[in-house]
Symmetry: C2
């Protein structure tokens, strides 16, 4: 049980500091100019998308331009459909097997290297026969990513599932794996909820079948999810697939089979505009690298003060930097959190049900600028100096 005697220790995000630096693991802050655009949209006196019928020409235009911006930013090929789906990543945990497996005898391969791939697997077990490739270490922790090859992948698999950034464990695939030629008939399904738009996707090279991302990390706020589906994979859904999860049904009705989350979708489009202004996904990746590097550098420079679990370094997440203070010493960790909070630095400890143990996490989504990451790095450097 954590100490609850100070707001910082129960994950409060509102401080008395003049400025807030939000490192929440999501939902979290959006890029400042996007937040300003949202505020501006409510000041014009015109109808905002909150009040637009989803079938009005105004919203239909928002929908189509938002799709076009995502396609542009992420270079989504024409043979992929872009859907706005309901129920977040967890909705897709069920939707993926319900759309790709017609019976519970169908086999799917799940790569398990963290909390979110575990959760995806648990939902899939309701709908298909799940083979797993598990990367849990002897210490019971996930700190790496397993090899994927013919030895551990059933060639009958309807899909191979992985999570490209495990937020809790801090493991990221900077590039999707290239599977051996003999397995290229199997589409890859990617939970990109926490890294979508922060690096390029090799749609064809990595044989991506489905890629989904809830909005609330890098591209918006909760209530909408971007799900990108290769068109040839539509139309093989289980008869048990609910309509709201059914890719073909929703594609055929152009995302209007039922009412989509209108405003939430419009905001995704504004984040795409920001990404384009900022140089696109390649520039975003450079910023992500720089933001993460400044934190890992300070962590690695004072191993007696900060520790981070992921090896090799090439798997260290740029989105979520897990670290312990003085090997998890409770008193030192609490001091760190309280002093950070007093400096306006928040979101490093979230009360999750996932048992992350002693690790704090600094999340560096699109809403965090390099300048903000440097504020945290400076704070960490100063805190470390005070421990000598």
């Amino acid at each position: 049980m954590n100490d609850t005697s100070h707001p910082a220790l129960i994950g409060a995000l509102t401080t008395t500091a003049p400025k807030t630096y939000n490192f929440s693991p999501g939902p979290t802050s959006l890029p400042q100019s996007v937040e300003e655009r949202i505020a501006q949209s409510f000041q014009t006196g015109k109808l905002t998308s909150l009040a637009l019928s989803h079938r009005s020409p105004e919203f239909v235009k928002i929908l189509s331009t938002t799709k076009a911006k995502i396609r542009d930013v992420m270079s989504v090929p024409d043979n992929y459909e872009i859907l706005f789906t309901h129920g977040g990543g967890h909705g897709q945990f069920a939707a993926v097997p319900l759309n790709l497996c017609t019976s519970s005898d169908d086999v799917a391969t799940y790569v398990i290297n963290g909390t979110w791939s575990e959760r995806g697997r648990d939902e899939a077990k309701r709908y298909c026969t799940v083979n797993t490739i598990d990367a849990k270490g002897e210490n019971g922790q996930y700190t790496t990513f397993p090899a994927l090859d013919e030895a551990n992948i059933d060639s009958r698999s309807k899909f191979i599932y992985l999570c490209s950034n495990e937020t809790v464990n801090g493991i990221e695939l900077y590039r999707l794996p290239n599977l051996p030629e003999s397995l290229r008939h199997i589409p890859l399904v990617v939970d990109a909820s926490s890294d979508f738009s922060t690096k390029p996707i090799d749609w064809e090279g990595a044989n991506v079948g489905i890629l989904f991302a809830c909005a609330s990390k890098n591209i918006g706020h909760p209530g909408a999810t971007v799900t990108i589906v290769r068109k040839d994979l539509m139309g093989q859904a289980s008869p048990l697939c609910p309509g709201v999860f059914h890719y073909k049904t929703n594609a055929q009705s152009d995302n209007l089979w039922n009412t989509p989350a209108t405003f939430n979708i419009e905001v995704i489009g504004w984040v795409m505009d920001w990404l384009i202004e900022q140089g696109g996904v390649e520039a975003c990746e450079q910023r992500s690298k720089a933001k993460a590097q400044c934190l890992y550098d300070i962590i690695d420079s004072v191993p007696e003060v900060y520790q981070t679990p992921v090896e090799p370094k090439s798997l260290r997440s740029r989105m979520n930097v897990p670290f312990s203070v003085m090997n998890g010493d409770q008193k030192k960790t609490d001091s760190f959190l309280i002093e950070a909070w007093e400096a306006g630095i928040v979101g490093l400890r979230t009360l999750t049900p996932f048992g992350v143990g002693e690790y704090l996490r600094a999340s560096l989504y699109n809403g965090v600028s390099l300048a903000q990451a440097n504020v945290l790095a400076s704070f960490m450097k100063d805190f470390a100096a005070r421990q000598k």
Copy 2:
């Protein structure tokens, strides 16, 4: 095919008039003071709920106070759980049978008297054995509500399903039906998406088991749904029920099994605050009656100009007033829409896939004030006078 030569004829909501009167069937405008509160929330310079982690103490408080306000406004008894669910009403079309039927042999009774009860039935057929009580008239239209009794309800039914306001057809139940004593072991499931919060619910008297309402008509904007479940009905879900739809799973984790639509939920709370300020649900019902009455009065007073289909009058929807202009004459209808649009009156024609035929609809949700309804009534009166 409708004429598309004028914005009014394709359902445009933005006009050149100085003020907009939005009669959209949803999503639609919120009460003016709620829209102002939303705008204000983005001007304070503080973190808004768009940027709050769902597990932060700040958002957990928003979640619990929003639930408490709904319980207060709608007098929800303690033996009912209030959930914020994903996927809108269509999500619940699947979730209801998935939570109440453990096998496809389980029987459920669906009362069909419009577009939305049809849609609910179609989803349910995937998961249970559906008995229907159909109210379609000889003309192929739904204009009434059928009797419910032992003669047409299978006493083995796991639930009896109805939609308390059919938006497309304009049929509303001002009070939920009282079933005969011999059927009171069967819980009632109510799709109240388009009338929730506009009249009291007799939870125990009507034996309500589940009542759900998507936010985008009366209580917010799309992306969140309020689903109220009697606690004894939790825990009998099909093993095929996706986690995001599973009532017990979500109740046990206090709506945080996955990330809920944080901002969308906060706005629902603000609408509840407005309802309380305005005198609660009883006062809301009086306003709803008055708003609808001023339109039905003008329609009934000039039957040669306006026609409305629903009989008896005691089933005429207060939420959605369907009417034709000169028995659906295309040219006159187009003139009506264009003149209305020029006066800032919008949302009367929506391009739906439901084949509403010649009917226009004026929707009178909480966002429409009595003064606004009177603006439309005056316009309709003047238009009628010009036809003489």
